[in-house]
Amino acid sequence: MIDQAPALIVVIPLLAALFITVIGVYKPRLSWILTVLTFVITSIFTIITLKQVVVIGPVYYMFGNWPAPFGIEFVIDHLNALIIAMISIVALLVAIYSKHDVKKELGDKIPHFYSLFTLLVTGLLGITMTGDAFNLYVLLEVSALTSYALLALSKGRAYIATFNYLIMGTIGACFYLLGVGYLLINTGSLNMADIATIINANTYSYAVLAAFLFIMIGMWTKMALFPLHGWLPNVYTYAPTSTSCLLAPLMTKVSVYVMLRMMTSVFNYDYIFNVLQWQQVIVALAVLAILAGSILAFRQDNLKRMLTYLIVAEIGYMVGGAWLGNVNGFTGASYHIIADGFMTLCLFLAIGCIIYKIGDSSLASMKGIFKKMPLTMVGFLIGAFSMIGIPPTCGFFSKWYLLSGAYEAGAWPFFVALLVSSLVNAILFFRIIEVGYFHALPEEEPNHNHPKHKRDEAPLSMIIPLLTTAGLLIGIGIYTADIVTYLIRPFINTFL
């Protein structure tokens, strides 16, 4: 059973997705329980695999027992073991969280939502585990198509936003596919490890260079790196709460992972940094992403929209860190995938609770929110502190590594941009805290004798995932040393 874990991690949710569609017709209520159950099992398997990777080393799984270059291979090494654990845990938390929200927002479409939900996560898990460049494309499309459908379950402006996203996402995927095509022409292989051995770093042809460029541009579109970020804010703002809670932490982060994977496992890290030497340009783009994201976030009055721009800034963190070309920078980028995933999740879950209760996420509607929904706001605060980078939340430690990397690489603009973005985050979040804590509730007289406030908290099935995530932010922060020593460093040692 354990030997089959890598396959089961994708097969279970895949089958569950189909099963939910069928059973949903007869018993829509069962779909929620099935989804939660699916991700409980998936999470257990990912954690078992994670442990196995730490203890024994990378796990290889050949589908149908076809040996590597011929069949499709799943490779779980130190980098993606962590990320699949994150994906399945995020999926589990959002699944639990979505119970009441989906009932309220989507009503009769519950089974559709859950089968798309599980299928989307299947795609993301597959992207992260596969060792095959073309298989990755297929799974990329699986997750992309399901995400279009999920987003389009909403109403109004969501249609236009989703259409926009569909165009951009397809362009991104096309670029990626073109890149893979070039690689296939050059090497005759689709297996990542095989490609890496066939294309010798010293004799990189222009075709390989083009492949690299296409794949990178494809991924940058998918992850919404500035200036290719245009689609992201609208999509996440107008999506149903549970959908945005699932997509915002995972979609962009998985694309970042693919970028890291391509840079290290398919192409040659040394070649990219010593022969190509694009790092100046890419890091400059990352700086722009961070600054643009922060400034645009500043102009938003709607909290959910503000967060979407912060995602744009955070993407800049990871791209910049990966392209610094040193150990600390890469450590920061990979650690930040996890940290940012949970940070974003925490904030989106909190905003989701507020929207569930108040129906709005504008700054003005936050008045007195601390009194009304104290538990939600505790979760929100911890997420905000992590975004700002206050220790011991994990946001601090990713910043630590990114800043270290920037200093070692002498990338001062990036160094300063990171600090500026922290400060902007501080201002953004304290503006909310000030309104939420120190402004009276709308219906209340602004005198000092507070009448009894009605506490009106979101249901427990929403609060528990939120507080769990908040706890994880601190937990991950405290276990940074272990994550770095046992997972990220061993991975870096394989190519540096």
């Binding site: 220790p391 011991p392 630590w400 800043l403 600090l419 405290i478 040393a481 770095v484 020593t485």
Partner: protein, 491 residues
């Protein structure tokens, strides 16, 4: 010289934290809530005394919290200096709590539970800073302190309080994230360690420009120390209730700022490195400018609390100046001054609050003849101001004495002149208040010739701290010995 591995330092940080939680959950019962504060404060003092004996014998206590970054753990290491500071914070916490009750209840302040909970949390963070064994741990608790005191500063929740709070957080977070964090990272990447050591962690051959930049980043990064131009938050934070001002100015916040700066100067750079390079002069010049300028500004303030605030800015830079001299006596003096100034300044704030509770007056120009109505308060005020000025019969002179000795050791006469001018300025902005209160002409007096002091809980604390200030003159060893142990002088 021994190092004990012990849970005691962590226990002290934890008790205040648990106290904070307990306060939060007993909001229904006011008296029980306040009991928690006193119980935790008392436990803290007992635990501190347990450690004090061994610390004075030259030992240190360590406790490893967690290894958060590879090779860079969060850990406590209690030495003489940390102990000195913890004692100041722990003992004054009790007095301030008593005072808070006397201040908050008669004025029927709102949200008292939040107030006491945040207060206890702030003390917990302060203890954490005091016991920190490396820069990272110190930074963590420093940030927790900034966040936990924010609700205290914004306590009144009106526009003015929100503005003050905004300024408070903006300055403290901007400087700590913008300056202290990069300085810490760069230091770590260059030296491979962040653990404090009296010898400093930089090699003597380190790049002087780098050292200068780091020094400036650290100095301004811990903006709680109020070094100009990053002092602006301090007078702004005066909108808070008076006990909070007392906490900010004497017990926790600003003292944490100078404590951090001193730790950086003595534990990261090291006295030897400072004195053998021009870095010492840089610190002295920056601190001296703040000392003089803030004293001049204080002269012009009519709001008593604002005048005290600027006085604090000046006194903090005194402490930094003492360490900047980078001699044994200078550092000892400045460490002791943390305690001496704390007792003097808290007395002054308690008096200001007592005056406000009893008469509702905030401005110095309204206090002519006040000595007739509140003689005890004003005598306490006199003692407090004598200590801040550095006159005999108060603890202030002891620390100033050592700082002056240090300045002479270093052979820099201009520092002596700075101390002299600033003492004169201190006298110039404090004595007129006391003089007018007692010796004004009958017709100028704004108060009836009838004694009406503030209620007892607001009156006893200033008297206690005033007596404390006097006792510190007679028994300065209480804190001086810790300072001696910290700099490594045998008793």
């Amino acid at each position: 010289m021994q190092t004990f591995t012990s849970f005691l330092p962590a226990a002290i940080v934890l008790t205040s934290f648990i106290g904070s939680v307990a306060v939060f959950f007993t909001k229904k019962n006011q008296n029980l809530r306040e009991v928690w504060t006193f119980i935790t404060a008392a436990i803290n003092i007992v635990l501190l005394f347990r450690m004090a004996k061994w610390i004075l014998a030259g030992n240190t206590y360590t406790y490893h919290i967690a290894e958060v970054l590879p090779g860079l753990p969060l850990f406590f290491n209690v030495d003489g200096f940390g102990m000195l500071f913890a004692f100041v914070a722990g003992s004054l916490w009790i007095v301030t709590s008593l005072y808070s009750i006397g201040y908050m209840r008669p004025l029927k302040e709102h949200a008292q539970t939040r107030y006491f909970a945040c207060f206890a949390l702030a003390i917990s963070a302060t203890m954490g800073v005091a016991f920190s064994g490396n820069v990272l741990t110190m930074y963590v608790f420093y940030e927790i302190l900034s966040l936990s005191t924010y609700p205290l500063v914004t306590h009144h929740q009106d526009n003015e309080a929100r503005g003050g709070g905004r300024k408070y957080l903006t300055f403290l977070l901007t400087t700590s994230i913008g300056f202290a964090l990069p300085a810490m990272i760069i230091t770590y990447l260059n030296t491979g360690t962040l653990t404090f050591s009296n010898a400093g962690i930089f090699s003597q051959t380190a790049d002087p420009t780098l050292l200068l930049v780091l020094l400036l980043l650290f100095l301004f990064g811990f903006a709680k120390s109020g070094i100009m131009p990053f002092h602006v938050w301090l007078p702004g934070a005066m909108v808070a209730p008076t006990p909070v001002s007392a906490l900010l100015h004497a017990v926790a916040v600003v003292k944490v700022g100078v404590f951090c700066v001193l730790r950086i100067l003595t534990g990261v750079f090291g006295i030897d490195l400072l004195s053998s390079t021009s870095l010492s002069t840089v610190v002295c010049v920056i601190a001296s400018i703040t000392v003089i300028v803030s004293s001049l500004i204080a002269l012009t303030q009519d709001n008593l609390k604002r005048r005290l605030a600027f006085s604090t800015v000046g006194q903090l830079s005194y402490i930094v100046l003492g360490a900047g001299i980078a001699t044994m006596y200078g550092v000892m003096g400045s460490m002791t001054h943390i305690a001496m100034h704390a007792f003097g300044k808290i007395t002054l704030f308690f008096c200001a609050g007592a005056i406000y509770v009893a008469t509702g007056k905030k401005y110095i120009s309204q206090m002519v003849g006040l000595g007739k109505q509140m003689p005890i308060t004003m005598i306490a005020f006199l003692i407090g101001s004598m200590s801040v000025i550095g006159l005999p019969l108060t603890g202030g002179i002891i620390s100033k004495w050592y700082m002056v000795l240090g300045a002479m050791d270093s052979g820099r006469i201009w520092i002596l002149i700075v101390y002299l001018i600033s003492s004169l300025l201190n006298a110039a902005y404090f004595f007129p208040i006391v003089y007018n209160a007692f010796f004004c002409k009958e017709e100028d007096s704004q108060y009836p010739n009838k004694i009406k002091e503030a209620p007892l809980p607001a009156l006893i604390p200033p008297v206690l701290t005033a007596i404390g200030t006097f006792l510190l003159f007679i028994y300065p060893e209480l804190f001086l010995n810790f300072a001696k142990v910290a700099v490594g002088v045998s008793k």
